[in-house]
């Protein structure tokens, strides 16, 4: 187990370069900024709406995307992944470390934003909003992060594919095709929030289905990442 610590450390240090950290902080701070703006200008408090549209649908997947695709993707791209692969470490440990860091960093960025926004703009049901969205974003954000870590092991254009998934599939298509609603991490996250009492617009996914989808994504991503790492090929120069 102690071999996970250096893996986690080096992944974290690699992820928190100056530019990336600034970008993530800006993204995570945005909902809080808007909430402050609304609060200060005496507007109508409605934390749910911000948390739904800005956090769950936008900031959370974007943060998970940036962090998830870079956790091992940036090392593959610049050629330093080899130093992790040629070590006598079980492949599942490497996968677990990467996913833990990606999910953890996503949570660390997103949860405070959720909490602050709820506190600033919550109405009478503020506790429900806070708890509901915190849990939902924790699980949903981790699912996104895990999925993007696994994706980055299969393609170098994981960022773009992930964007297409979030914007085209989750944003447009699965809204059009009712039957495919469960194939969306976003809908599962909102469904989980709804199950915890949050008032989610539209018809959220049932609680059981939401949990099943998120669990499947988390476990499946971990399994896929392990499988792929065991067979990961690194070509030589000439």
């Amino acid at each position: 187990m102690t071999v996970m610590t250096p893996l986690i450390e080096v992944t974290l240090r690699g992820l928190l370069g100056r530019r990336r950290t600034i970008l993530l902080a800006l993204l995570a701070g945005l909902p809080v900024l808007i909430a402050l703006l609304i609060r200060v200008s005496g507007g109508r408090p409605d934390a749910d709406r911000i948390l739904d549209t800005l956090v769950v649908r936008t900031v959370m997947p974007l943060v998970a995307l940036i962090v998830g695709t870079a956790a091992i993707g940036s090392e593959i791209e610049d050629g330093t992944a080899v130093y992790l692969i040629i070590k006598p470490i079980a492949r599942w440990r490497i996968a677990a470390a990467k996913i833990l860091v990606a999910a953890g960093l996503t949570a660390v960025m997103v949860i405070p934003a959720v909490v602050l926004t709820s506190l600033l703009l919550g109405r009478n049901d503020m506790t429900t909003t806070l708890v509901g969205f915190t849990v939902a974003c924790f699980v949903g954000g981790s699912a996104y992060a895990a999925a993007f870590v696994a994706l980055s092991l299969f393609t170098t254009r994981a960022l773009l594919l992930g964007l297409a998934y979030v914007l085209i599939w989750e944003g447009v298509l699965s809204g059009l095709l009712e039957g495919t609603k469960f194939l969306s991490i976003r809908q599962a996250t909102l469904g989980l929030a709804a199950a915890l009492g949050v008032d989610v617009p539209g018809e959220p996914l049932a609680a059981g289905v939401s949990v099943a989808v998120l669990a499947t994504v988390l476990v499946g991503a971990f399994a896929l990442a392990t499988w792929r790492l065991a067979r990961f090929e690194i070509r030589g120069g000439d």
Binding site: S41, R44, R49, L160, L167
Partner: protein, 303 residues
């Protein structure tokens, strides 16, 4: 010219220096411009480079193709078919909403390649030591990107246009009916290509690393409309009215509504009730500003 002496020999291999005409600056700019357009679609590189641009373009024209197909079938069905066709959600004024996100993804995918690669591989000195000036380089790249985006944007409209002309009872009346839409969607196409391409190019020029550029471009396109919607719903309309003009997605929604005289897709834009020329002016400022800043970036970049 072979020369030999006791110590060594020089052999004439037939090398000649080029003494022919040299094409000037205009040629260089045109070459870079056409290369940029080809790079936008991944032409000249392997199959993988073509997946994103062609995939997104195909998705963009798909609804138009379907609409034309349905229209053709509806025309067979007579007057009932006409009613169905008029109820179709795929029309000129609604198409922008369908295609905007795809154009944004196209920008996010291709702009980093166009502007970032040359910086990352350090080949800018090769360009700038030619007859091509720095503004030439920047403008050729930016306009190349914009032209490619313009083509992708108006392709579905053209398909709709041509389809509907020929589906009409006879082409002459069809043309007369549809002709009004032509300058409209061309103008909207120019604004879309100009604004989205200009902003994407600017971001990509400032962010050589591909992943950051892609993420930032997408963030700049999709986050502001959400913020504006929240602000509009929860605070004063005046604040929303000011913010709307800083959101490229909403600006283009507004120009679309103004040009076609229709209801805007976004409820925010509809509620904010700004006059059409405000959006057009904002778009113009955005286009010119982003081009200017991109040129400035390349004029001042250190190589």
């Amino acid at each position: 010219m072979t020369a030999s002496g006791p110590g060594g020999s020089i052999f004439d291999l037939g090398y000649q220096s080029y003494t022919g005409p040299r094409l000037g600056r205009r040629s260089a700019v045109r070459a870079l411009f056409s290369q940029t357009i080809r790079a936008c679609f991944g032409i000249g590189r392997g199959g993988r480079a073509k997946i994103a641009p062609f995939g997104l373009s195909a998705l963009a024209v798909l609804p138009a193709g379907l609409a034309v197909g349905f229209a053709a079938l509806a025309a067979q069905a007579g007057p009932a078919g006409g009613a169905i066709e008029n109820a179709s959600p795929i029309r000129y004024e609604t198409y922008h909403g369908l295609v905007a996100i795809l154009i944004m993804l196209f920008c996010a995918a291709q702009a980093p390649e166009l502007f970032g690669r040359d910086q990352r591989y350090g080949v800018l000195p090769l360009y700038f030591s030619r007859v091509l000036t720095r503004p030439d380089y920047a403008l050729a790249k930016v306009f190349g990107l914009m032209l490619a985006l313009f083509a992708v944007d108006i392709a579905p409209y053209l398909i709709l246009f041509v389809g509907r002309v020929f589906v009409a009872p006879d082409p002459a009346t069809g043309l007369a009916e549809e002709i009004a839409a032509l300058p409209r969607f061309l103008l909207q196409g120019v604004l879309v290509a100009g604004l989205l391409g200009g902003i994407a190019g600017l971001i990509a020029a400032w962010t050589p690393r591909r992943a950051y550029a892609t993420a930032t471009i997408i963030a700049v396109f999709i986050i502001p409309p959400i913020i504006v919607a929240i602000v509009a719903a929860q605070t004063s309309q005046d604040l929303a009215r000011a913010l709307v003009l800083f959101s490229p997605g909403d600006i283009l929604d507004g120009t679309n509504a103004a040009i076609f005289g229709s209801i805007p897709d976004s409820p925010v834009v509809a509620s904010v009730n700004l006059p059409g020329w405000a959006y057009l002016a904002a778009a113009a400022v955005g286009i010119v500003g982003s081009i200017g800043l991109t040129v400035r970036r390349y004029v001042r970049i250190a190589t």
